[in-house]
C-alpha cells in the first residue's frame, strides 16, 4: 500500500518548477541585490538599508504605515465585530450584509475613483460636488476641506477608503463565528441577569477571540502591503507615502534596484512573523471544521 508512486513527480513537477522560478529564485536574488548599488554592479554593504532607515521620505513612509496599522486594523476589526453582532438582530440582515460586502468585489483602483469623488473639493462659496464637503458645509462656520491635500486629514481620508473596502470581509468572518456561539450560553447569562453589554464583554468577546485574532492579522498583512489605494489617490504626495508605494517608485521612477530590493526585504521581514501566526491559526480553524 505505502509504496512510492513514480507518477507523483509528473503531477508536482510543473508546480515546483514554476514556483522555483517565480518565487524562490527571485526572493534569493532580491536579498542579494539589496546589498548592491542602483545598477546591481557594485557591492555597497548595508548602504541601502541605511537609506531605508534614515532618509526622511522613508521615515515618513514607515510612520504612515504605522498610522495605517493602528487605525485601519482597529476600525475594520471592531466595526466588523459590531456589525456582526448588530445585524444578527434584524430581519434585513442579508441585504445589509450584501451592501457592506460589495466593495470587496471591486478593484482598489475603482474604489480610489469612488472616494476621490467623495472627497472632491471646491473653494468656499462654490457648489460642492463632493458629498463629504457638501454635507459638512451645512454646519455653521464649516470651511470646505481639500481632504487629500490637507496634511492633517489626507492620511485618514485614505485609510477610511481602505476601511470601506475591508469591513465587509471582517464582518462576514466574524458573523460566522458569532452565529457559531451556542445560544444556550448567551441565554444562560441573560437569565442570570446579565445585560447585553455584559454578555458581549464577558462571553461573546472571549469566545470569539481566536477568530478576531485571525481577522486582525489578516488586516495587518494588508496594511503592510498597502499600495493601490495610495498609488491611485495621492501617489504619496503631501506626506501620504507608504512603504510599498516607495518601493515601486525606487524601482520604476528612479531605477534604483538596490534600494527597491532593500525595501522589499524589509517588507518581507515585517510580514513573515504575522503570516506565520496567520497560517497556523488558519490551519487550526480548518482542522476544526
Amino acid at each position: 500500500m505505502k509504496k512510492t508512486n513514480k507518477w507523483a513527480w509528473f503531477y508536482i513537477a510543473p508546480t515546483l518548477s514554476i514556483l522555483t522560478f517565480f518565487l524562490v529564485y527571485p526572493t534569493i536574488n532580491t536579498f542579494y541585490l539589496s546589498f548592491f548599488d542602483e545598477d546591481s554592479e557594485n557591492f555597497i554593504g548595508l548602504a541601502n538599508y541605511l537609506f531605508a532607515f534614515t532618509r526622511k521620505i522613508m521615515l515618513n513612509a514607515f510612520r504612515n504605515n504605522l498610522i495605517w496599522l493602528v487605525i485601519f486594523t482597529t476600525f475594520t476589526v471592531s466595526l466588523g465585530l459590531i456589525l456582526a453582532v448588530l445585524l444578527d438582530r434584524v430581519r434585513y440582515e442579508v441585504v445589509a450584509k450584501s451592501i457592506i460586502f460589495i466593495p470587496m468585489a471591486i478593484s482598489f483602483v475603482g474604489a480610489g475613483v469612488i472616494w476621490k469623488f467623495v472627497y472632491a473639493y471646491k473653494p468656499a462659496g462654490a457648489h460642492q460636488i463632493g458629498i463629504l464637503n457638501a454635507v459638512l458645509i451645512k454646519f455653521p462656520n464649516f470651511q470646505p476641506i481639500a481632504w487629500l491635500v490637507n496634511k492633517t486629514t489626507n492620511n485618514f481620508a485614505l485609510i477610511f477608503a481602505g476601511i470601506w473596502i475591508w469591513v465587509g470581509f471582517c464582518m462576514v468572518i466574524l458573523s460566522a463565528a458569532y452565529k457559531g456561539i451556542p445560544n444556550e450560553l448567551l441565554e444562560a447569562a441573560r437569565v442570570d441577569g446579565a445585560n447585553e453589554f455584559q454578555v458581549f464583554w464577558r462571553i461573546t468577546l472571549p469566545v470569539m477571540k481566536p477568530t478576531i485574532a485571525v481577522v486582525a492579522t489578516t488586516m495587518v498583512i494588508n496594511v503592510l502591503k498597502v499600495f493601490d489605494i495610495v498609488y491611485v489617490m495621492t501617489n504619496g504626495a503631501h506626506g501620504t507615502e507608504v512603504v510599498a508605494n516607495r518601493m515601486y517608485k525606487e524601482m520604476f521612477h528612479f531605477n534604483n534596484f538596490g534600494r527597491a530590493s532593500a525595501i522589499a526585504v524589509i517588507l518581507l521581514l515585517a510580514i513573515i512573523p504575522v503570516m506565520i501566526i496567520n497560517i497556523r491559526r488558519f490551519q487550526e480553524q480548518e482542522a476544526m471544521r
Binding site: 512510492t4 451592501i99 457648489h127
Partner: protein, 286 residues
C-alpha cells in the same frame, strides 16, 4: 418591565445605526453610478444627489460618457485586455495546482510533507520581493509587455494558495471511495479525473472566483510586467492613468470606473455564495 422599556427604546436606535452605516457604505457607489450618466456641465455645477429633486426627467441622463471612454479613452480595448489576461490567468494555475494538490493529498513519494510545507511557506513572500528579478529575466526573454508573461506571473503567484486549498479539499474526501476505485483497477489518473475533480466542484468554483477577481482587480502585477501601453493594459492600469490625465473630468472618470466594476459586480450578485467563500478562503494569499 424595566427591561421591556429599554428594549423598546433601543430597537429604533439599532435600526438607525444599521441604516446609517449601510447608507455610508452604499452612497459613494451610488454617487459614482449616477454621475457616470450625467453630462459634464451638470456634474461640474451641482452635486449628483440633486438628481433626486426630479429623478424621472430622463433628459438629464445620457450614455455619452460611456461611448466616449470606451472609444476615445481606450476603455473598450482595456476591457478586452482584462478578459484576455484574466481568463488564462485563472485557468492555468488551477489546472497545474490541482495535479500537484492531488499528488500531495493522495500519492506516496519521498519528501511529500517537506515539499508541501515549502509550497505553503511561499505564501509569506510578498509580491514585491519578486518583481525586480523576474522583470529582468522577462526583459531578456522579451516577455515583458506580453500576455504570456503576465499569465505565467499570475500562475506563479496564485499557485501556493491554490495548491494549499485544493490539497486540503482532496485530503478531506472520504478515503473508501478512492480505495474501492483502486480495487476496481482504476489508476491514479482516472481517480484524479473521475473522482477527485468532480467531487471538488464547489472548492474549484470558489478558487476560480477568487483567482479571477484577484487578477481582474490587480494593479501592481500588470503595472510592472505589462507597463502602461494601451495595446495591452488592463482596466485597472488604464483607469489609473486616466485618473491622472482626466483630472477633474468626473463625468468620464466615473463612467470608466464603472466599466471596470461591471463584471465583478455581476459575479458578486449571481454567485454570491461561492464569491464569499472564495474571498474568505483566499484571504491569506501573499
Amino acid at each position: 418591565m424595566k427591561k421591556k422599556i429599554t428594549k423598546l427604546l433601543s430597537r429604533p436606535l439599532l435600526h438607525i445605526v444599521i441604516v446609517l452605516i449601510s447608507l455610508v457604505w452604499l452612497l459613494p457607489s451610488v454617487g459614482l453610478l449616477i454621475t457616470s450618466f450625467r453630462v459634464r456641465n451638470d456634474v461640474m455645477s451641482s452635486g449628483w444627489w440633486t438628481v433626486f429633486q426630479h429623478p424621472f426627467e430622463f433628459t438629464q441622463y445620457s450614455l455619452k460618457n460611456y461611448t466616449h471612454v470606451i472609444t476615445a479613452n481606450g476603455m473598450g480595448q482595456a476591457f478586452l485586455n482584462s478578459l484576455l489576461i484574466t481568463i488564462p490567468s485563472t485557468i492555468i494555475p488551477i489546472m497545474i495546482a490541482s495535479f500537484a494538490a492531488y499528488a500531495f493529498a493522495r500519492m506516496e513519494f519521498p519528501g511529500r510533507q517537506v515539499l508541501f510545507v515549502i509550497v505553503v511557506g511561499l505564501l509569506v513572500v510578498p509580491l514585491q520581493m519578486t518583481l525586480i528579478p523576474i522583470l529582468r529575466v522577462y526583459n531578456r526573454l522579451g516577455l515583458a509587455g506580453t500576455f504570456i508573461g503576465i499569465w505565467l506571473a499570475h500562475t506563479g503567484y496564485g499557485l501556493p494558495f491554490a495548491v494549499y486549498l485544493l490539497r486540503n479539499f482532496f485530503g478531506a474526501l472520504p478515503k473508501d471511495i478512492f480505495e474501492s476505485a483502486f480495487l476496481d483497477g482504476a489508476s491514479h489518473f482516472t481517480a484524479f479525473f473521475r473522482l477527485a475533480l468532480p467531487l471538488s466542484v464547489p472548492a474549484l468554483a470558489s478558487l476560480a472566483i477568487f483567482q479571477f477577481l484577484w487578477v481582474w482587480n490587480d494593479l501592481l502585477v500588470a503595472l510592472i510586467y505589462l507597463g502602461g501601453t494601451e495595446r495591452v493594459a488592463p482596466l485597472t492600469v488604464r483607469l489609473s492613468s486616466l485618473i491622472n490625465s482626466l483630472g477633474q473630468n468626473w463625468h468620464l472618470l466615473t463612467a470608466a470606473a464603472f466599466i471596470s466594476m461591471v463584471l465583478p459586480l455581476i459575479i458578486f450578485f449571481s454567485l454570491q455564495r461561492y464569491f464569499v467563500r472564495g474571498i474568505l478562503a483566499g484571504s491569506i494569499k501573499g
